[in-house]
């Protein structure tokens, strides 16, 4: 299993959610973050001073999926979160060793279904 972590624009969440659901990946977790990347925030010069605000609000989407589905999910995330402007975000893939559904105690791939 893998944990797919995607930093996206808040506006794209709906698109992302719906498309993942359509492909059968209903489970996901999201939270608000602020980030800096190539999009290094806003900066401006005035009267010789430089000002910078480098943390921009984003949304983090976390999806844990079966190894077999990683490519699909990453691809779908990428397409759904894409606008083409700097600041579209990043996706990271991280290994997961186990998953448990609290309610039933199911483990591994079972827990993701």
């Amino acid at each position: 299993m893998k944990l797919v972590k995607a930093v996206i624009r808040s506006e794209m969440l709906d698109e992302v959610k719906n498309n993942l659901q359509r492909l059968g990946y209903a489970g996901l977790t999201v939270y608000e973050v602020r980030g800096r990347g190539r999009q290094q925030g806003i900066s401006w010069r005035i009267r010789g001073n430089e000002f910078r605000l480098d943390l921009i609000p984003k949304l983090m989407v976390e999806v844990v999926v079966d190894d077999a589905d990683v490519a699909d999910v990453v691809e779908e995330l990428r397409k759904s979160a894409y606008t083409g402007s700097i600041g579209d975000g990043k996706i990271f893939v991280i290994p997961v060793e186990d998953a448990v559904r609290i309610r039933t105690g199911e483990r591994g791939a079972e827990a993701l279904k």
């Binding site: 808040s10 506006e11 806003i42 921009i56 609000p57």
Partner: protein
């Protein structure tokens, strides 16, 4: 002669109406995305400051100063010259002239601020406030003169507008329509989900608006007696009835009792009763309010299916609600409440006609002039932030201050 009770009431009412502008900031702010929340509140706050200055400098004189052919006030009262502490019997015989001026100034502020709802999340802060000051001067002041100024031509025609249905709400609502058309849509309008970020601010704003509206409507009696009491009652009843009817609509069509719906309903009811509040009885107010909730609900639903991104539905609530209110005044004005006026139901169809005329004038004047002012600004200093800035949000790009963490 100055009456202390009347003056106390008018000063309190002025303070209450003042509070409506930041209240509107929270109402509007809660409805936008979090990245634009502080900017939206700030637009309202800045409008209060700038139009206060415009008003004492030239706005009041243009709106209420000695009439030049019924079309505009002269600049004789520039900088409040001649606007003193004795009453001006033309306007309010029992309160200091300056108190009347103050009260009217608060109306000028809130009217301009209302338009902000149509342009949020994409207008440059600097251009936005420039627009509001120009708009107040070119659109608000003349219209206020026509309807309320001594010698104003719509006033002479007999148009009824107790507390600003035409001057305030139709005016702002139509200006909002024009503004939405000039500014065009927010990026992602119609495709991305624009979720209100703070419902509690929406309801805080609506509650403070309701509270302040008592001053707005009942203060318009310009004295503390029966008329003020009646207007206060009508205000409360209409707001309540519209809250209920919009709530029912949201239940019916969405299956849930929408909080934003209730808040919007309250505002719609308050808007609609504004021109009528000094003329109608409790049942009249109830009908006006209940109907306002329905009409505005449908207007908003209709608008949201168009291409016009009047983002917070200023047209749907203030334009439509104000129009309904102006017309309803011509229907429900009850001489038993206020002997100076009678509507259709009380045997005076002429009043209805006058109301329609005044409404039409306000629609046309406000739309054309607003459109022109905004085009002008757009061609010169520019209206919209860049695409980049819009994506990042106006709190950071216009003010470098995020709303909250």
């Amino acid at each position: 002669m100055v009456d202390a009770g009347d003056t106390a009431w008018l000063l309190v009412s002025s303070a209450l109406v003042f509070l409506m502008t930041p209240a509107l900031g929270f109402f509007y702010g809660g409805l936008v995305r979090k990245k634009n929340l502080a900017n939206t509140i700030m637009m309202c706050f800045a409008a209060a400051a700038l139009i206060s200055l415009q008003w004492v400098l030239w706005g009041y004189s243009l709106a209420f100063g000695p009439s030049v052919n019924g079309v505009i006030g002269s600049l004789d009262w520039f900088g409040l010259r001649g606007v003193g502490l004795d009453p001006n019997p033309d306007y309010a015989p029992t309160v200091p002239h300056q108190a009347f001026m103050l009260f009217q100034g608060m109306f000028a502020i809130i009217t301009a601020a209302l338009i902000i709802g149509a342009v949020v999340e994409r207008i440059k802060f600097s251009s936005g406030i420039l627009f509001l000051v120009l708009w107040s001067t070119i659109v608000y002041d003349p219209l206020a003169h026509w309807v309320w100024g001594v010698g104003g031509w719509l006033r002479n025609l007999g148009a009824l507008d107790f507390a600003g249905g035409t001057v305030v709400h139709i005016n702002a609502g139509i200006a909002a329509l024009a503004a939405a058309m000039v500014l065009r849509n927010r990026i992602g309008y119609g495709s991305a989900a624009f979720e209100p970020s703070n419902i509690t601010y929406v309801i805080l704003g609506a509650s403070l608006l309701w509270f302040g509206w008592f001053g707005f409507n009942a203060g318009s009696a310009l004295s503390a007696g029966g008329l003020a009491s009646s207007a206060f009652m009508a205000t409360n009843v209409a707001a309540s009835a519209a809250t209920l009817s919009w709530l029912l609509m949201s239940w019916f069509y969405k299956g849930k009792a929408s909080i934003i719906g209730a808040a919007s309903g309250a505002v719609a009811g308050l808007v609609a009763v504004t021109p009528a509040s000094g003329f109608v009885d409790a049942l009249g107010a109830m009908v006006i309010g209940f109907t306002a909730g329905l009409l505005c609900f449908y207007a908003v639903s209709f608008r949201s299916r168009t291409k016009i991104d009047d983002s917070l539905d200023v047209w749907g609530v203030h334009g439509v609600g104000g129009t309904w209110g102006a017309i309803a005044t011509g229907i429900f004005a009850n001489p038993a409440v206020n002997p100076t006026a009678a509507g259709l139901l009380y045997g005076n169809p002429y009043q209805l006609l006058v109301q329609v005329v005044a409404t039409g004038v306000a629609w046309v004047y406000s739309f054309i002039l607003t459109f022109a002012i905004l085009k002008l600004i757009d061609k010169t200093v520019g209206l919209r932030v860049s695409k980049e800035e819009e994506l990042v949000g106006l709190d950071l790009t216009q003010h470098a201050e995020p709303a909250y963490v």
